[in-house]
Symmetry: C2
Subunit: 180 residues, 2 copies
């Protein structure tokens, strides 16, 4: 994520209005955040708590003002009441990816829905052909092990094509979309 | 391979001295071909024949003058006498990757040895920690299925690091090397 952490956009989202760099990476980060009506997140993006929620004390990684400023639908197997924070409301969805998408569509109206990860969540939506456009920021870092985003995923068979790639300062940005 | 087929270097190698494009991709292609003393190829890069060689009629994909112009060691389970072509001699090695590397070292002297693929061959050498430097040309093309070059390969544990990446016209060039 180093390509993103160094952008002006990210720095502004985190209280540093003049920090960060402008350029291609920053422009692409900006475009990815424009026009959003809502987000969908896997539970592990929301937090490290596993299994049933022991209480409601975990309120995300982001402090009192999360950076979303929209409704955010969190996929989980364990019900929890909505969590209202400054500018952002987290709503917990136990009905699976299609239920979350349906609720997100209603909340977003004409605006876009952004899927904020993690890997398992993106693989589920992609495998179901429910992602219209996918932005991959390819940055060469050797992790050794981990989840493989596209392993075993036959993207052409799922109807996807790669329609654009742009060299940024720290990453290559690849855009996939579903063919009509 | 589209990034390579459009370079001046590749066009020159194939009898078109003024065709192709100059630029970053072309420079990187040139650097990768400079100072080579020999090549190692997996058998499927040499040709489509499987199992024992029925005869010696298959002489590679490249016509009478292959583009290597060095000795080329071809990994195979099936012995075959050396094949002399204009500027290139193919030598067939049945003793495995280490035997081929040893013979390639003797042939190359102070010059470099280039591993020309395919995927299974590179995975064998990489898994054995025998590659000093690896150039990956990352170009977004959705293939659907195929061999995965780095799947399940713990590169940091094998001693590799990513030390450079360069945006070319058609690909991002990533360079890995073995730490000292």
């Amino acid at each position: 994520m180093d390509w993103f952490f160094n952008t002006r956009v990210w720095q502004q989202m985190h209280g540093n209005p003049t920090g960060g760099e402008t350029g291609v990476d920053n422009e692409i980060a900006e475009q990815g955040l424009a026009g959003l009506g809502t987000w969908i997140l896997g539970r592990n993006i929301f937090g490290p708590v596993r299994g049933p929620w022991p209480d409601e004390s975990w309120k995300g990684w982001w402090g009192d003002e999360p950076p979303y400023h929209t409704p955010v639908f969190v996929l989980t197997h364990h019900a929890r009441p909505p969590l209202r924070m400054a500018g952002t409301e987290f709503r917990f969805v136990t009905g699976g990816i299609k239920a979350a998408l349906q609720q997100a569509r209603e909340a977003a109206g004409e605006r876009d829905i952004r899927l904020g990860g993690g890997v398992a969540t993106i693989r589920q939506y992609l495998g179901a052909g429910l992602i219209d456009e996918l932005h991959l920021a390819v940055r060469p870092v050797l992790l050794g092990a981990g989840e493989a985003l596209l392993a075993g995923m036959n993207l052409p068979a799922l109807g996807y094509e790669s329609f654009k790639h742009v060299a940024g300062e720290r990453a290559m940005h690849v855009f996939l979309r579903k063919r009509d």
